[in-house]
């Protein structure tokens, strides 16, 4: 089974240009200074490439809502990967 959280961390390190960045399920936009709406676009594109999925507008909107965390992103990716087999 894929370690989605670990793969997401690799994407975050690449997008934020920080090889030592450590994220967990509870990490949110409040924890990273550079995590803004423009960084989100880089993240969405990198996630689509890394996982071979396409994020819908509504899914991106849900992920950027207040109180959303990396855990919500991981759950969404696991659901999408399971659905695509």
């Amino acid at each position: 089974m894929r370690d989605v959280l670990n793969e997401v961390q690799a994407v975050f390190r690449d997008v934020f240009g920080d090889d030592e960045l450590v994220i967990g399920r509870a990490t949110s936009a409040d924890d990273l200074d550079d995590w803004n709406s423009i960084a989100n676009i880089g993240l969405f594109v990198a996630i689509e490439r890394a996982f071979g999925v396409k994020l819908a507008t509504a899914e991106m909107a849900q992920l950027t809502r207040e109180r959303q965390t990396v855990g919500d992103l991981v759950d969404l990716l696991e659901r999408k990967l399971a659905a695509s087999g």
């Binding site: 676009i41 507008t57 509504a58 909107a61």
Partner: protein, 411 residues
């Protein structure tokens, strides 16, 4: 019934009592009745009320349709149809080009339309994307017509509204202090709107301009006075709009359906991007989710821009601010207001990218947080956002005389 009139406050007070004491079908029907009475009190015309309700019903069927099909093409078709309906109902000049003599157009409702339109588009897109799992007609109608936010927002999300309505999420802690805090918020909002904003109004830019047969004149004695009047309009708008938001958020909390926050000390904004998070935050969040994100992603996926990725964010920022401008009003000045903010957002993006590339992200972050740099950034942001409001207040033909007056009068 005017915005925050005695009748509005009485209706809100009654709703807070009834809704805090009841839930289920009685509460739903009561709230629907109150919302329709409120809408009628503004529209006072069956055609106006019919066009408002018609748009809501059309949105509901589109949402159901896109949820069933889950196709990007169907969603685009539904949203495009809603955009056309919005343009016709809002009465943009372009409509008169195609329908010059249709009397009915003047009777179609524009009250609360801008906010209603954004709420409906959100429901359609989220239904298509599967993030709204069950859409019930009565909840949807109460969400669309919710009288506390119908006229001027804040723009709540359907999931947030229903979670609170069904008590899956608490709008307010069940304590005396929390309820007292909500009442205090209403009172604070009334003071902001009816004392502070009213006190500033005579001195702010919108009260100092007069257009007559002899042209446009500004009732100021010096350039400095005109500059102060421009700053004061920013403060006036803040107290007026954030005061209104405090009242509806306070009442919404007491009713169990607290709308999202809209303002966070905008005068402390460090840059224009930060400003848009602190001013009308629920609009910014909507524009980010339903204009900026899809535009950016479409551009990123496009082959046309494959070798020009650096253009994606500027194009998306300008597109988003174009929508913001024309959404705020139908005049050319509002379009300019949006485009000016687009240019300022792009300038900040380029500045940030340039310095981050040269200094490295961490050094740039440390540089930006130095007290002097931070203070300068706040000062510059206050200046540019204050002066951008000139396009929000004045008509396009008044901008030239504003600049001339600014330059010709002694300081």
């Amino acid at each position: 019934m005017s915005l925050l009139s005695a009748k509005f406050l009485a209706l809100a007070f009654l709703s807070a009592i009834v809704l805090s004491a009841s839930r289920g079908r009685i509460a739903t029907l009561f709230f629907l009745g109150v919302n329709v009475v409120f809408a009628w009190s503004y529209l006072q015309d069956p055609v106006g009320l019919g066009s408002t309700l018609g748009l809501c019903v059309a949105g509901f069927f589109f949402a159901r349709w896109t949820a069933r099909l889950r196709s990007a093409r169907a969603t685009a078709c539904a949203v495009s149809t809603l955009v056309i309906a919005f343009v016709v109902l809002r009465g943009y000049d372009i409509v008169r080009v195609f329908l010059p003599d249709v009397e009915l157009l003047d009777r179609l409702s524009t009250v609360g339309l801008s906010f209603l339109f954004f709420k409906i588009v959100h429901v359609v897109v989220d239904s298509a994307g599967g993030t709204i799992e069950s859409l019930r007609f009565h909840s949807y109608l109460n969400y669309c017509l919710n009288f506390t936010t119908f006229l001027m927002g804040p723009i709540q999300r359907y999931q947030d509204f229903t979670d609170q309505w069904e008590r899956k999420q608490r709008a307010l802690a069940p304590t005396f202090e929390a309820h007292l805090g909500a009442v205090n918020r209403v009172l604070r909002g009334l003071v902001k709107k009816f004392v502070l904003a009213e006190a500033l109004a005579p001195y702010a830019l919108h009260s100092r301009v007069a257009s007559g047969p002899d042209g446009v004149a500004f009732d100021v004695g010096s350039s400095g006075e005109l500059v102060v009047a421009t700053y004061l309009f920013y403060f006036f708008l803040y107290f007026d709009f954030s005061g209104y938001c405090d009242v509806v958020i306070g009442f919404g909390s007491l009713m169990g359906i607290k709308p999202p926050e809209n303002f966070r000390t905008p005068f402390l904004s460090r840059n224009v991007s930060d400003y848009w998070k602190r001013v009308h935050g629920s609009l910014t969040s909507w524009l980010t989710d339903y204009v900026f994100n899809p535009l950016s992603m479409a551009a990123m996926r496009s082959r046309l821009l494959a070798s020009r990725r650096t253009l994606v964010i500027p194009i998306a920022l300008m597109g988003t601010m174009f929508v913001s401008g024309v959404w705020h009003g139908t005049s050319l000045a509002f379009l300019c207001f949006g485009l000016i903010h687009g240019v300022m957002l792009i300038a900040h993006h380029v500045y940030r990218e340039f310095l981050s590339a040269r200094m490295g992200r961490k050094r740039f972050a440390a540089f930006s947080s130095q007290p002097l740099v931070h203070a300068c950034a706040v000062l510059v942001t206050f200046q540019v956002t204050s002066f951008a409001y000139v396009f929000f207040v004045l008509e396009i033909e008044e901008i030239g005389p504003f600049v001339t007056t600014l330059l010709s009068l002694g300081s």
